[in-house]
């Protein structure tokens, strides 16, 4: 099977390409990238005026299976991913049961094999049941195929356990992903601490509760010389802490999510629970700092933190509602709207943050359009606009913070290992 993509603006930072070219896919691999490829092909896609980028690698996704199939499944989540131009996801381990042992990794691998529309990479937990109390068998997680470990949703409070995890992960060449939150500071907070929490009469979550833990985890990583990745950076001080650490040569990478550069705390003012996210939507200064961090390279990755929840968990009192927004179907368009349209970033920068960098950080063979690589490709119209509507989501849950927003950039094709998995 051959597939020929003609005349698209090809963006491939790995090979420093940013020009109109053709791409030939043979079977599951990219076989040629050049101008004016003239071969007969089973399928020809006219990509004139469209962007052709490596498929998005979303390294922060909650697929909820096993255990919470009412929120999302591997099947629905990966279908939603395909619609959003995503060809690889990293599934977070906070499922039921938690992915905290080889047996549970194997079980998830089976589900993925049978139902996934795209590549699903697996993150194991750091501690058993994500309790923060007892370290998982890190080598067993690695051997069964996990590519990273994280207690995402919680932070590992114990310095001893975190240090041990970093040492073991280094030995196993596994990435440690840190959800940075000091619960003794964030407590029962539900919105950004400051004028917003005061105005709404809700408990606040301070920036301090995040950046203090970022500081600690970076220090521990420095000590053990292990690479760490800071998940969902939301505030200004965290960006500063990470920038300083990078300057010092510490092996730290960082990610943010679209809602942290596209929305601020004002979105919460009418108590809409889709805006309840952890970490919370922050102040305008923080939003600017996140954008600046993306531009300057302090923040390496844009990931969705796709967090599906049922209406029953969202359509209740704000303080009791579940935290999180779905994002797989909006990440690319929100990024185009907020980062490209505003002139903050180039297409190559965007491809790096959404595809090339996360692939390198996870050590997976993705994120480029090089000859011989997996043919994971997203083709989209950068100028087309669309309005986010609840009824159009493929994801099983509809809790998007972006409902009603007008966005730029519409995915036309998503190709995964040479196969068209989504077509507009």
């Amino acid at each position: 099977m051959n597939l020929l993509i003609k005349n698209g603006l090809v963006i491939d930072p790995a090979n420093k390409i940013e020009e109109v070219m053709d791409i030939l896919v043979s079977g599951t691999k990219i076989s040629k990238v050049a101008k004016g490829i003239n071969v007969s092909s089973d399928t020809v896609i006219d990509a004139k005026d469209k962007i052709v980028m490596p498929g998005i690698v979303d390294m922060h996704v909650h697929l909820r299976e096993p255990g919470r199939e009412d929120k999302e499944t591997v099947a629905t989540g990966t279908k939603a991913a395909a619609k959003g131009g995503v060809t690889s996801v990293l599934a977070m381990p906070n499922t039921l049961p938690v992915i905290d042992c080889a047996k549970n990794v194997d079980r998830l691998k089976d589900i993925v094999k049978n139902t996934a529309a795209i590549d699903v990479f697996i993150a194991g937990a750091i501690t058993v049941a994500r309790s923060g109390k007892k370290l998982c068998e890190i080598s067993a997680l690695k051997n069964s195929g996990a590519v990273a470990i994280s207690d995402d949703g919680s932070s590992v409070d114990s310095v001893e356990i975190m240090s041990e995890a970093l040492a073991k992960a280094k030995k196993e060449k596994l990435l440690v992903i840190c959800h940075c939150e000091d619960r003794s500071l964030s407590g029962r907070g539900v919105v950004n601490k400051g004028f917003t929490s005061t105005r709404l009469g809700l408990r606040g979550i301070s920036n301090e509760s995040e950046y203090k833990r970022v500081e600690r985890d970076i220090k521990l990583a420095e000590k053990s010389d292990a690479p760490i990745h800071i998940a969902h950076v939301s505030c200004k001080e965290s960006v500063e802490v990470i920038a300083r650490a990078k300057k010092k040569g510490i092996k730290v990478t960082a990610e943010t999510a679209p809602h942290y550069f596209a929305l601020n705390e004002d979105a919460v003012l009418d108590y809409h629970t889709n805006m309840k996210i952890n970490p919370p939507l922050r102040g305008k200064d923080d939003v600017e700092a996140i954008k600046d961090g993306l531009k300057k390279g302090t923040i390496d990755v844009i990931a969705s933190d796709h967090a599906p929840h049922t209406e029953n968990e969202k359509e209740i009192e704000f303080e009791h509602a579940a935290s999180g927004t779905i994002g797989l179907e909006t990440t690319l368009s929100v990024s185009v709207t907020e980062l490209i349209e505003t002139g903050l970033m180039s297409w190559s920068d965007l491809a790096k943050k959404m595809s090339y960098n996360p692939a390198r950080i996870l050590g997976i063979d993705k994120g480029t359009l090089g000859v011989g690589c997996d043919a994971d490709i997203v083709i989209f119209s950068p100028e087309k606009e669309w309005v986010v509507k609840k009824k159009n989501f493929v994801s099983k849950s509809k809790n998007s913070a972006f409902i009603g927003k007008k966005l730029k950039g519409v995915v036309e094709y998503t190709i995964h290992k040479g196969e068209v998995v989504y077509k507009l």
Binding site: F195, T196, T198, R199, L200, G201, E315, I316, E317, E319
Partner: protein, 317 residues
């Protein structure tokens, strides 16, 4: 060509969720209407037919006597039918959700739900989910708009105007819905508001609501035309933040001694119920400057005004 002047409806809100969301004109309309309803309460036959055939449901998820009774009397004075539903069970813990309860009450063809809930934003959520009118009778730490209105009505009756008045609010600002409604309402009407409390009970960013913060109670009382003394909410779970009661009375309590330095005619308000000897001395609470019981009576009048105007409001279909 004839000029088409489109007259703005006098009242355009489906719900009363907080004074933050009202204009100065809205607030003045409610106060003026409250003033005219106030007279009914002194008649021997205290009833007018304004809301005959309307049904008001009091849905209270928190224990409350005075607010619930005040709403009930207000509705009855206007000839509405009143149903009281009291549940101390929070909707998430057991049984039906707040939205489902609201939709059921709507299906029972009630016209107004007066809701008191321990979660901030509960009234706003309910208002989004039903087409009938919602009155927020206190949601968490967020707002208690009819308390704010009755405080302002009492003050306006006493001093004749609000514009330019200096009003101090003393006490647990952080956890007080009464404070927030007072701040929004008073500042919209042009009063200068100062809040004063132990620093742990001053919430962050409060200045952005247009108030000044005084650390010292004598500063807060010094120039004030009126002081609103908040109740120490001893039943709330943020107890750890509270100073010792005797310590609080010594530092922030409203006493005769302290008032000697204040304006002679300073108006003393309190939303009740009073903790005598904790936030206010008995002498002051019962003294000549106190309008605490007038507040209670005015509360009925202003709630009549709220129920009256909400019943006139057009509904979204």
């Amino acid at each position: 060509m004839t000029k088409q002047v489109k007259k703005k409806p006098r009242w355009s809100h489906k719900d009363l969720l907080g004074l933050e969301y009202l204009s100065r004109e809205d607030i003045e309309l409610l106060l003026d209407t409250g003033d005219s309803f106030r007279e009914i309460l002194d008649r021997s036959i205290k009833k007018v037919p304004a809301l005959r055939g309307k049904t008001v449901v009091n849905l209270f998820y928190e224990p409350s006597t005075r607010t619930r009774v005040s709403f009930e009397i207000a509705a009855k004075r206007l000839s509405a039918d009143v149903i009281n539903i009291a549940t101390e069970t929070s909707s998430v813990k057991k049984g039906e959700t707040l939205n489902d309860t609201g939709k059921n009450i709507e299906a029972l063809k009630a016209d107004v739900i007066v809701v008191r809930h321990n979660c901030s934003g509960a009234a706003a959520m309910l208002a989004r989910n039903v087409n009938i009118s919602i009155v927020n009778a206190g949601d968490g730490w967020h707002e208690h708009p009819t308390q704010g209105l009755l405080d302002i009505m009492t003050l306006r009756k006493k001093l004749g105007h609000i514009e330019g008045l200096k009003v101090s609010i003393i006490g647990d600002i952080a956890h007080s819905r009464v404070a927030r409604s007072n701040i929004w309402g008073l500042t919209k009407l042009g009063a200068k508001v100062t809040v004063c409390a132990p620093s742990m009970l001053i919430p962050p960013g409060i200045e952005k609501m247009g108030v000044s913060v005084a650390d010292d109670i004598d500063d807060a009382l010094g120039e004030a035309d009126a002081v609103n003394v908040l109740r120490m909410q001893l039943e709330r779970d943020e107890k750890a933040m509270f100073p010792q009661q005797s310590e609080y009375f010594k530092t922030f309590g409203i006493t005769e001694e302290r008032l000697k330095k204040a304006k002679k005619n300073i108006v003393i308000m309190h939303p009740g119920p009073i903790n005598r000897g904790i936030e206010i001395s008995s002498k002051i609470a019962d003294g000549a400057n106190s309008v605490i019981l007038e507040q209670v009576t005015n509360g009925i009048a202003v709630r009549m005004a709220v129920l009256f105007w909400l019943s006139q409001a057009k509904r979204d279909k």
